[in-house]
Symmetry: C2
Subunit: 204 residues, 2 copies
DNA sequence: ACCTGAACACCGTTCAAGT
DNA sequence: ACCTGAACACCGTTCAAGT
């Protein structure tokens, strides 16, 4: 049964399975992908450039879930905010994914295109040339940190019994119910950051 | 030569070597630590609770490099800012370390103590109980994202030749020399965030 | 071109045996 | 208590062989 008439494997099936494993266990393994697809481990290597190639597949996958068109046709504040929410939503759907993607630099053309668009947006808004990368990097730092926060279990924010931290415990208890700590923090941080960009713009 | 009169291994030597490897290669391996220390792999397991135990050692190590006393004896804005710089400096010294530490929740008593202190600081400054965790989470998100940014090679910010991104290239070229993109972005973001906290405080 | 089966180097972990 | 030597399961990767 070498070389079936219809291919058993393709990039989509590999990416789907890898993402399944990441969602279920926090990581993926080439042999485990092969097992789930009922195929030999070596077969996967005929479609993909090793494990790093599969990571790139996942990077592309999450990239398609982020809606870059949100950057178009609206004021820059609204554009950045909408993009930020879309970005975070993509990682909220796969909380463990961000950890796998922090390894390698972002060089995919589609990602570079998004940055290019953001630069144009900020320039048209009137930001000074030296200010553009500073604001976009600050923006990206927050997006990264917020994405990582999604992978942090809420357990992380319960005070261990053996430690005395009464005010922390009280602050945690004082959180409004409904939307979580992480959601509110993200919303607040994005607002603050964009307000900060605004004031930088006006002071120029 | 089983059981020498003077122990060949101890936690400090294991942590030192692991950190060396992380700095040099971006990761560590139990056998590689053993090789560097001229010892069998199995020996390491007599001192440490497996690979995760070594990660905890590294977490503790970076924890000691962050100066939590900076939170004491000054206004909250200055305290948060100083702590943020100390935090980032600790990871700047070991840029690859942050990736290893994002896996497990922070439950070390010393870390909880820092959060407890921050909560008290914010409460004494007059922040509403519901606002405290929101601001601290936003603060932490930025610290995490900024630490990850330190591991991103500047190469990440050079436009690939095959992609057309003229404005991005120009914005990168417009950056002031001297301190890098990452440093300026961090400084800016921290200022903006703390200003935002300030305004939240006044509007209460 | 696509899959199999076998192989190799390497990692994380355990355990009995020695002092 | 601390180290060795050997063992095991598992992973990433390669390659000749088959259709």
């Amino acid at each position: 049964m070498a070389r079936p008439r219809k291919a058993l494997l393709d990039l989509d099936r590999i990416a789907d399975t890898a993402l399944e494993l990441v969602d279920e266990t926090g990581d993926f393994t080439v042999p485990e992908i092969a097992r789930r697809l009922g195929v030999q481990t070596a077969s996967v290597y005929h479609h993909v450039d090793g494990r790093p190639g599969i990571v790139e597949l996942l990077r592309a996958r999450v990239g398609t879930e982020i809606d870059a068109t949100l950057l178009e046709g609206r004021p820059w504040e609204s554009a950045l905010r909408a993009f930020a929410y879309s970005y975070r939503a993509a990682f909220a759907a796969h909380p463990h994914l961000i950890r796998l993607l922090t390894g390698e630099p972002v060089r995919a053309p589609s990602v570079v295109a998004v940055y290019e668009r953001m630069v144009v947006l900020m320039e048209e808004a009137g930001f000074a040339p030296e200010a553009v990368m500073v604001t976009l990097t600050a923006f990206e730092n927050l997006l990264f940190g917020a994405a990582l926060d999604l992978a942090a279990p809420e357990v992380m924010w319960t005070v261990p019994a053996e430690v005395s931290a009464p005010r922390l415990a009280a602050a945690l208890a004082a959180q409004p119910t409904g939307t979580g700590r992480a959601d509110r923090a993200f919303e607040f941080a994005i607002n603050v950051l964009i307000d900060g960009f605004s004031r930088l713009l006006k002071q120029d």
